[in-house]
Symmetry: C2
Subunit: 551 residues, 2 copies
């Protein structure tokens, strides 16, 4: 690719911001979804100084005569930038900066990795990490603090289990947290103990807070580093925009610091972590689009229930593998409606996390009620919409609700979900095609860092409901597969629409931002298996290259 | 004044942002300090779309032929926008929205006003206010909770003293805060007590937090209202830019919400309320100038001591009227140096509050030490620099320190300061001319809402050291008066320099922002008494009218 500055100085003299052609990105094999929703091919993009597309050019179209910059793309394939409708930006960044034990296959392997990480990071006062799984190690029991001391004993260590529901501490961390045999198990948590009743090293659920509360908070400079890391990871996957689900005030400050210094490279549609964060960020309503459409507080994320794996999802009937338990709502019906009203009153968008069928029914009921008072284009979102009573699916379409689903969860959860739900309730589980048929708009995402953010894997799963090994053959409940166009739109224009960003980005059309990805294959034609393997070569945001493979 | 749109549409078609003349402000009697520091007269300003001055025009100068807008100012006098180098933006706004006791002349008058305010504001869960001064009331002691109960006993009441260094609570507020005879004085604070040791009603310095912590926090929407109120008050006084001394993260969010929505009308040079706020706002250094030079985090404000009125100022020798007391440093020498290093390391500007002569000596010593490690253009600021040992004054000039002083404090404090200090220490009190002579640059401010923000009163006091009644005749310690030009620069270009804003605003010169005030008299010629009475007719910020009297 060549960058040729042409006439820049002269034009700048004539007009401080020129309406004339500024960037010509030419000689591409462009593939896009056009204004009519059809696959369309093009060969060039003519982009203004703000990164907005002035014209999408085909072979015979006249090129601007004097662009300031000309990028000859050597006939490479470009597709619209991918958008992830549900992930956690800072979680991705912090995850990348902490020790990852998820690939370890034994306790000894894990201990070696922990010791190495501690040696390589001498400046860190605590060693933090995640991803261990004693089942995968074949240990048959939890690991202990003493074992962890063998790897690191001179600094506190605290490592989160793969599911986030337990933490493993070394002796110094336990001492720092002042936990001993006299410390009682907190409500909703359990301290693993040795024969003498002393803490053994692992803390389960609410007991993790006993250690977590003495872990130093990341400093602003750590947060800045995490954001840069997250952006790099996302751009490398071809992602140009995301919905950040659960932005805290400190997260927001991190985005602002980057935005103020022209270091915000991806676009972030932000959903505040609760009503207080929403109000302190947005005041009396969503923020304007900031930094040339790179940041906006759209609304608020509310948690109505937990997750299926830990049996925190709120079900209408008990868990098939835990007949006394239906899970729990995290908000009463009054609380949910009050919080939703406070947001809707100020025209914030509302995204309700609902995984179980009871949670989805309750979210639907609340939306139905609020829709009477809060009219207009609300774009109510239900995040995950994972287990829905088949009788409730119609209701998504009736209220124009956005079902924000994460295809890869379906393949990761399959065996677990079958155990939790039994056969009867699977009909409304991950029921993407049924949701789409009801009239709901599907916005697709990854929930990264819970899953990898790779959107091409997400597209392939949406189209096949098969995992990386091609299992189950033909797809799990294949009637619920999405079409190629549904999957592609779900990761581009529909994800943008779900964040009120249509007309700004999400499509390669005149007037939207020139966000695109240089890839090694044509995803409008490739098989799902091939789409899954898509390699990202470059990622461009607003007409500027933000990522190049190998750099 | 007429606004004539001329050729706007045509120009906009040619160039989206035109370098051609955009606004011509003409037919003014302009008075300014020019590039050489001399008084200069002019008749027009030619301003671009960003509010920056393209040319300062005199009578014979050629005007642009086709300005988009022409403002004929009908021969009115305009002077540079006034800059206040030390005030509290949100305090001004909240002050305007809460009970103001600063005009009360007796305890009984205050109690009547408090009772009336409570009646007029039945919806407020707490009655909050400020401005009381037992000295002004001639009370000879602090007021009590029981006295306050006579005005309001059914809701908690908490009222800040005029200097912000003490608070007066009623019985319900004290009970709500769970303070009783067993409550110990916190470090750096004092609970006034009755004969039995029970809290008497007034809480000094750090002890105010005991009550403050139970006062409900204002909501973001309250903060937004307070900012709008503050801006209106400042613009009405002819102030176009300020240094905000002690910006919290929530204050900053308020400024951002306004900036994002084009509602930031004044320019704010922000100094964070401590190191944590500084880091979470700025990250690894001052923010860039935001919103076309309307907001920047410059650095941090650190409190080294309290105030003279409440005997919290840290003196080298005991108070003349309290021989056991020298006041207290709020930071140890190590703490001060650590905090200053953390800020200086990241190139933040440092503003140290120092009122007593011991505090000033300590601030000077710390600056001297840090100057060895942190070189370059640091513009160390000492806020107030109120009581300085005459032997220490030279040290201001040696290190190019900015003395950020508030002239009106001198007239308000005169009698009190004489009592606190006795005659011997007055030589270095409010010693503006001596500080200037040392080579320090004086930045002038008001400390509003502690004092009125009126900068013309400030200028007059700086020039006369006489109060509104012309007392004492000839001025208090008149050798310390400032010249007209020193006072004027102190409230304009020197206040800008003190915030690294030179070249951006503070002067009406080519390349700086067109911030000016339409006034009813020529302050380059008027007597100090006349300057004091200056009426502001209009205030313009960045070439746009932001205030007009009577609107």
């Amino acid at each position: 690719m060549k960058l040729l500055p042409l006439f820049g100085a002269t034009l700048a003299l004539l007009c401080s911001t020129s309406a004339a052609a500024d960037v010509l990105i030419d000689n591409v094999k462009g593939v896009r979804i056009d204004e009519d929703g059809e696959v369309d091919r093009f060969t060039g993009l003519w982009v203004d100084d703000d990164g907005t597309i002035l014209e999408v050019l085909d072979k015979g179209d006249k090129r601007p005569e004097h662009p300031k910059y000309l990028s000859d793309m050597d006939g490479q394939i470009i597709v619209p930038g991918m958008i992830d409708a549900h992930l956690h930006v800072m979680g991705i960044g912090f995850g990348a900066l902490t020790l990852d034990l998820s690939e370890t296959n034994s306790l000894e392997e894990a201990l070696a990795l922990i010791a190495q990480f501690a040696r390589e990071n001498p400046g860190r006062p605590w060693i933090l990490g995640r991803g261990w799984n004693q089942e995968k190690w074949g240990l048959g029991r939890f690991p202990t603090a003493e074992e962890l001391d063998r790897a690191v004993s001179d600094r506190p260590v605290f490592l989160e289990r793969v599911d986030g529901h337990a933490g493993w501490a070394n002796t110094l961390a336990i001492e720092t947290a002042k936990i001993d045999a006299d410390t009682k198990d907190p409500v909703g948590g359990r301290i693993e103990r040795d024969a003498a009743g002393a803490p053994a090293g692992v803390f389960v659920d609410a007991a993790t807070d006993l250690v977590q509360k003495v872990v130093p908070e990341p400093r602003p400079v750590d947060r800045d580093a995490a954001l840069q890391e997250a952006q790099q990871i996302l751009l490398a996957q071809g992602i140009t925009a995301v919905a950040d689900m659960g932005t805290t005030l400190l997260d927001w400050q991190t985005y602002r610091r980057a935005g103020d210094r022209d270091q915000l490279r991806i676009r972030i549609m932000s959903y505040a972590a609760g009503i207080e964060a929403m109000e302190v960020i947005g005041g009396t309503g969503p923020t304007p689009w900031l930094y040339q459409d790179r940041l906006r507080l759209n609304g608020v994320k509310l948690y109505l229930d937990g997750a299926l794996g830990s049996r925190g999802a709120w079900l209408k009937q008990p868990y098939a593998d835990d007949p006394q338990n239906t899970g729990l709502p995290l908000l009463s019906d009054t609380q949910l409606r009050n919080l939703m009203s406070r947001a809707a009153m100020e025209n914030y968008q509302i995204a309700v996390h609902a995984i179980g069928d009871a949670a989805n029914a309750e979210a639907l009921a609340a939306i139905e009620e609020l829709s009477e008072s809060y009219r207009g284009d609300r774009r109510w979102r239900i995040e995950h919409a994972q287990i829905v009573d088949p009788l409730d699916i119609e209701r998504f379409g009736e209220y124009g609700i956005i079902a924000s689903v994460q295809p890869v969860h379906q393949t990761s959860d399959r065996v677990m979900a079958e155990a939790r739900l039994g056969p009867d309730r699977l009909l409304g589980a991950y029921a993407w095609a049924s949701l789409a048929k009801s009239g709901a708009r599907l916005a697709l995402g990854s929930d990264a860092p819970v899953e990898s953010a790779n959107p091409f894997v997400g597209m392939a799963v949406a189209m096949t409901r098969m995992d990386a090994d091609g299992l189950p053959l033909g797809g799990w409940m294949p009637d619920e597969r999405l079409s190629r166009m549904e999957a592609w739109r779900g990761f581009t224009s529909d994800a943008a629409f779900a964040g009120f960003a249509e007309g700004r980005f999400g499509r390669l059309v005149k007037g939207e931002r020139a966000d695109f990805v240089v890839v090694d294959r044509d995803i409008s034609r490739a098989s799902p298996e091939a789409i899954r393997q898509t390699q990202v070569i470059e990622t461009w945001v607003g007409g500027v290259r933000a990522y190049r493979r190998g750099q």
